[in-house]
């Protein structure tokens, strides 16, 4: 079965860059952004997620690389 979109299920309309706990769910152990197939997000949410992760990285909330 296809994975469900987390942001639809959790009713998150705006993906906030400050919400690190949520963003971390979509990172690989190397702190890269998971692909859509693994994350199960819709394309709209995947793009918003990518923006949020990049903003969080700039502000030092998430690492650019890990390990």
């Amino acid at each position: 079965m296809q994975k469900q979109d987390y942001f639809n299920e959790a009713r998150i309309e705006h993906i906030d860059y400050k919400d690190v706990e949520t963003l971390r769910k979509f990172l690989t152990p190397h702190a890269r952004i998971q692909n859509r197939k693994r994350a199960g997000t819709s394309s709209i949410h995947q793009r918003a997620l990518a923006t949020a992760v990049k903003r969080a990285r700039f502000m030092g909330l998430l690492p650019y690389i890990s390990r």
């Binding site: 705006h14 903003r55 700039f58 502000m59 690492p63 650019y64």
Partner: protein
């Protein structure tokens, strides 16, 4: 178009900022007031904000202030949400960039409703941790009772 020069659509923005950790805790509010002053000066109205809290950065950052280079691993992080005309944004951006105490800042469009605060996130994490600990304790006690039951039999 219906929007004329004197009747521009106001837009909600969010300014996130990192303040250098070398600033003493009691002086951080001065920097926050300076940032809020910049916003009100260009005619922006504050909607919501959160006071800076110290946290550990995910990686080392540096900022050079007049021949003095600060290399930091932690910073105060805060944000202000405000409403203003779109043509005021570069002004706010440049003014905040000019503040020596601000390590980095990020000015982005945001929805009017505040759905996330660090205080709420911290509380949620603590609640979860407490629940987990209680569950672990309960699981530890349960088998012990079983053993006791056997002994009685």
């Amino acid at each position: 178009m219906s929007t004329t020069e004197d009747h521009k659509e106001r837009q909600v923005y969010e300014l996130g900022y990192l303040i250098l950790p070398s600033i003493a805790e009691e002086n951080v509010s001065d920097v926050v007031n300076a940032i809020k002053g910049i916003i009100s000066k260009v005619g922006g109205t504050e909607i919501a904000s959160e006071d800076p809290i110290k946290f550990e950065l995910a990686y080392t950052m540096s900022k050079t202030v007049s021949a003095r280079k600060y290399v930091v691993d932690e910073a105060y992080l805060g944000w202000v949400k405000f409403e203003c005309e779109p043509n005021c944004v570069p002004e706010v951006n440049n003014a905040v960039k000019g503040l020596d105490e601000v390590l980095r800042h990020l000015l982005v469009k945001a929805p009017r409703e505040t759905t996330f605060t660090f205080a709420a996130a911290l509380k949620a994490r603590e609640d979860k941790e407490r629940e987990r600990l209680e569950a672990a304790r309960a699981a530890e006690e349960a088998p012990a009772e079983k053993v006791q039951g056997k002994v009685i039999e």
